[in-house]
Symmetry: C2
Subunit: 211 residues, 2 copies
């Protein structure tokens, strides 16, 4: 585990901290689609991502959902940290987007490291900063953009995250993450295909040129 920590967090944390993390952290590998956190559940630990990606979703009362952002290598979940302090329930849902490797740190340690290690403090603040900006970006996207622009952005992100030129999702699934409906997404995807930006197939979408 030390290996992975050094590789991914060595430039941020001093050796002492890395060692402490390695001592109390648990190494976890989860497959794509694995649900890491549900809305309303209590938080047991804080994840440090080693590889892969996790998507963070928001639900409304009717069960509709909306993709907020992805966590990637080197990220952690501010929402988690935030909840640890308040001992509150999770406001979001977290699902592995790809096969993902992460280290779970028990939340009790957080408080201690925060006073002990400046590097840890900076990491936590930095993480909050990043997350706030991602949320801002999400708001921009919903408030100021049309569905076709949002869809385009979605496809770009998805293919980047999955390091794959094809999106292996049904239209139904895409509609869910954008909080739209299947018919609308099919319609817009067709438009994108006619523009030569993508090619549609059953169960996957091939990306030709999104710019």
């Amino acid at each position: 585990m030390i290996q992975e920590l050094k590789q991914n967090y060595g430039h941020l944390f001093e050796d002492d901290l890395i060692n402490e993390i390695a001592q109390v952290g648990t190494y976890k590998e989860v497959p794509a689609g694995f649900k890491l956190m549900e809305i309303g559940s209590y938080i047991k630990g804080m994840p440090l991502l080693i590889s892969g990606a996790i998507k963070i979703l928001r639900d409304d009362k009717e069960g509709d959902e909306l993709l907020l952002y992805y966590l990637e290598k080197g990220d952690t979940c501010s929402m988690t940290m935030s909840c640890c302090l308040g001992q509150t329930k999770s406001e979001i849902r977290a699902i592995a987007e790809t096969d993902t490797v992460l280290i779970m740190v028990p939340i009790q340690k957080m408080e201690m490291w925060t006073s002990k290690y400046k590097s840890w403090r900076n990491f936590v603040f930095e993480s909050y900063h990043t997350r706030l900006n991602e949320m801002l970006h999400t708001i921009d996207s919903i408030a100021f953009n049309n569905m076709d622009q949002r869809l385009l952005e979605y496809l770009k992100n998805k293919s980047r995250i999955n390091e794959d030129n094809s999106i292996r999702n049904t239209h139904q699934e895409i509609a869910g993450e954008l909080h739209s409906s299947r018919v609308v997404i099919s319609r817009l995807l067709k438009k994108l295909e006619k523009l030569g930006k993508i090619e549609l197939h059953r169960n996957y979408i091939e990306i030709i040129d999104l710019d």
Copy 2:
């Protein structure tokens, strides 16, 4: 200044910290409408609110705006803190919603207090937590609600913040903060009036019963 600090932050900060804040902070009174921060500007200090309220807005490239949330007594601006560390420009606009009293703390002190005072750390984390949740709520509102629901919520908030049963804004201004257009807002307001929830007048809206 010590007086105000103790009253509003005494339950959070020990006396030592209060004294330090009083030493380096500057006391500020700003009138409603005063622009405290513009998008793209660099951040000089961090505000601690004593009384009044500040509205936080997001702009898009075309100059359209959107109300994100309000800061009230006892709040601070996480966005500011976040920017301090990264030395980045402001992503948001801040305007006094009412006459507001606040204490500005130079950002250099932040880092020091963060290691020195546990109470300060908790305050900062707590603040991030609150802000993230407000952003989530904003996203919910935009993504899952119709304009009429958003308008209703807007009116409720506004009258609470201003401690006033009338909203002293033009339809144009309201449209701006909800990122809609004047005609739409007029239309919906009329509908609310017909439902007996409000009464419309020139330059202000009287609240009858929003529930």
